[in-house]
Symmetry: C2
Subunit: 92 residues, 2 copies
DNA sequence: TTGACATGCAAGTTTCTACTTGCCTATTCT
DNA sequence: AGAATAGGCAAGTAGAAACTTGCATGTCAA
């Protein structure tokens, strides 16, 4: 669960989640391109790949291999109730 | 807003929030003691102080000086709607 | 005012994080 | 088969983060 917060702590990773929220199932190359075009983030392919690995570790992103590409899917489940721990209205 | 995620990314800081959620208005010394007693975290006073600074930066904790002590208060406001950005049910 | 207590400030160290570069593997197309 | 495409692996680097230690500041109580 700390993994989820750690994953969300980086702005680039939050942009990646934004991208997948808008268009699910993107490949690594697609994400690279769209991060550059739409968010002005000019990172190497490997940098983005490493960010995706962190997001997968946190289970915020799942991936499937399709031929020579790998499609990435957003999973918002780990976000639900993430902060309830400290919200007094939900204590009991 | 990235500050909030960054602040939450550290387990010690999450324990501090737990402590303040349970008993609001603790001093630095109280927090040090309770972190050690209840969570097994034996950190120096300065380490805890630095964690509190990070939490204050993120506005998750506010503090007031009272005589020679400083009391810390939890503020859950920054947590509200933190993850809505990616939750599809709230898109419009 | 002097001593004890609660905290702040400033270096300094070690560990982690983000990113890059270079090379390797696997799949598709011609 | 050979070239192009999509991605993976590994080592290296620069900067940030987490902690520590030592000293300074401010407050209270006798």
């Amino acid at each position: 669960m700390g993994d989820v917060f750690h994953a969300l702590a980086d702005p680039t990773r939050r942009f990646i989640l934004d991208e997948l929220a808008e268009r699910d199932g993107q490949s690594l190359f697609e994400l690279c391109g769209r991060l550059t075009m739409r968010h002005g983030i000019g990172l190497s392919r490997q940098a983005v790949s490493q960010h995706l690995a962190v997001l997968e570790e946190a289970e915020l992103v799942h991936s499937e291999r399709v031929g020579r590409t790998k499609l990435h899917h957003l999973d918002t489940a780990p976000l639900c109730g993430l902060t309830d721990r400290w919200l007094p209205t939900l204590k009991e």
